[in-house]
């Protein structure tokens, strides 16, 4: 849909971009973690890109599929230009953290909390990085591929003779 947007972005951050593709018409750039805030600021403020909307922040766990293990995925949409761009940031398992973009997009507030809750991705500089879906007592991050499938963390015990499994 918007090869120009992708090319304009990669032209500005040559040293940061690891790879790009446009599979199924979805323009995607895989970038390094450092200078993420600069890149997102550029996406938002550059008049030719004008990505006013950060529509999704999520994560993927590629355990046993590829290295590095995690990828954080950002989806941007420009309302005025009607084009989209996807940014992926690979993260090592031993340090799954990257800068928060809440200061640039308010919508990141809950979506970053969700990625933290379910994948354990730490967003540095997030003003309120708490669990958002699971309860406070919950241990671990349930969408990680190494979370035990039958592991339950009930808040109340089952009735006598019953089991939570």
């Amino acid at each position: 849909m918007s090869k120009e947007a992708l090319e304009r972005f990669t032209g500005h951050f040559k040293a940061q971009v690891i790879a790009t593709h446009s599979d199924h018409g979805d323009d995607t750039a895989v970038v390094k973690r450092d200078r993420l805030v600069d890149m997102v600021t550029f996406l938002r403020d550059d008049p030719a890109l004008a990505f006013e909307l950060l529509s999704d922040v999520t994560a993927v766990d590629y355990l046993g599929v590829k290295e590095p293990r995690f990828e954080v995925v950002y989806h941007f949409y420009s309302v005025s230009k009607n084009h989209r761009l996807r940014i992926k940031v690979p993260l090592e398992e031993r340090e799954p953290s990257l800068p928060s973009v809440v200061s640039l997009y308010k919508s990141a507030l809950w979506m970053e909390r969700e990625a933290f809750d379910l994948y354990g991705i730490v967003f540095e500089g997030h003003p309120d990085l708490r669990r958002i879906l699971m309860y406070e007592e919950f241990e671990g991050h349930p969408l990680r591929k190494d979370y035990e499938m039958e592991h339950r963390q009930p808040r109340i015990p089952p009735r006598p003779g019953q089991s939570h499994l």
Binding site: M134, Y147, R155, I156, P158, R159, Q162, S163, L165
Partner: protein, 181 residues
């Protein structure tokens, strides 16, 4: 026969109701009916439900409440939104472990006598959500009287469940006044 009485007899529904009521009171007078049976009759025709609606099954719950299926015909007319005023807890939809303490509290807040209908496969067994988040059937945390299968169940199944619960209440022998232990 007076005109208005004739009109009443032409109305079939009115005839049935009047006859049913007549038969009921005649048997009462003949002492063929025990007090317990009378009380059970009152209870099973006046369920006050508390709809604990959490998910998509709620749509079918509303369809059952609406005029086409209309469970008011079974006396289950009024949903109460305080558990203190309800005697039938309808658990409609997926219950997560996060909600489980809330559901149990609501159940405990209801006064005796009380019954529970588990509406849909999610409430009955967790349904296809066999995962870290979902309670695998609400009967692991509170007792259940009638289960309704289906994802979601059709309104006919819900009405069937209400009728099954009525049959169950009809058989009941429980203290008529609260017993203080």
């Amino acid at each position: 026969m007076a005109d208005n009485q004739a009109n009443l007899l032409q109305n079939e529904a009115a005839v049935t109701t009047v006859e049913a009521a007549e038969g009921f009171f005649r048997r009462l007078l003949n002492k063929n009916e025990t007090v317990q049976e009378v009380v059970n009759w009152g209870r099973r025709w006046s369920f006050f439900q508390y709809p604990f609606v959490t998910a998509c099954c709620g749509m079918e719950y509303m369809a059952t409440a609406g005029p086409r299926y209309d469970y008011a015909r079974f006396g289950a007319e009024l949903p109460r939104f305080s558990p203190r005023q309800a005697d039938l807890l309808m658990v409609v939809g997926t219950i997560t472990h996060k909600q489980a303490p809330i559901l149990r509290t609501v159940y405990e807040q209801m006064a005796e006598p009380k019954w529970v209908i588990s509406f849909g496969v999610c409430a009955s067994s967790g349904g296809f959500y066999r995962n870290y988040a979902t309670v695998q059937g609400i009967d692991t945390i509170i007792p259940v009287d009638v289960y309704i299968p289906g994802c979601p169940p059709r309104p006919e199944a819900v009405l069937d469940a209400i009728m099954m619960l009525q049959d169950k209440v009809k058989q009941e022998r429980r203290a008529l006044l609260p017993v203080v232990k």
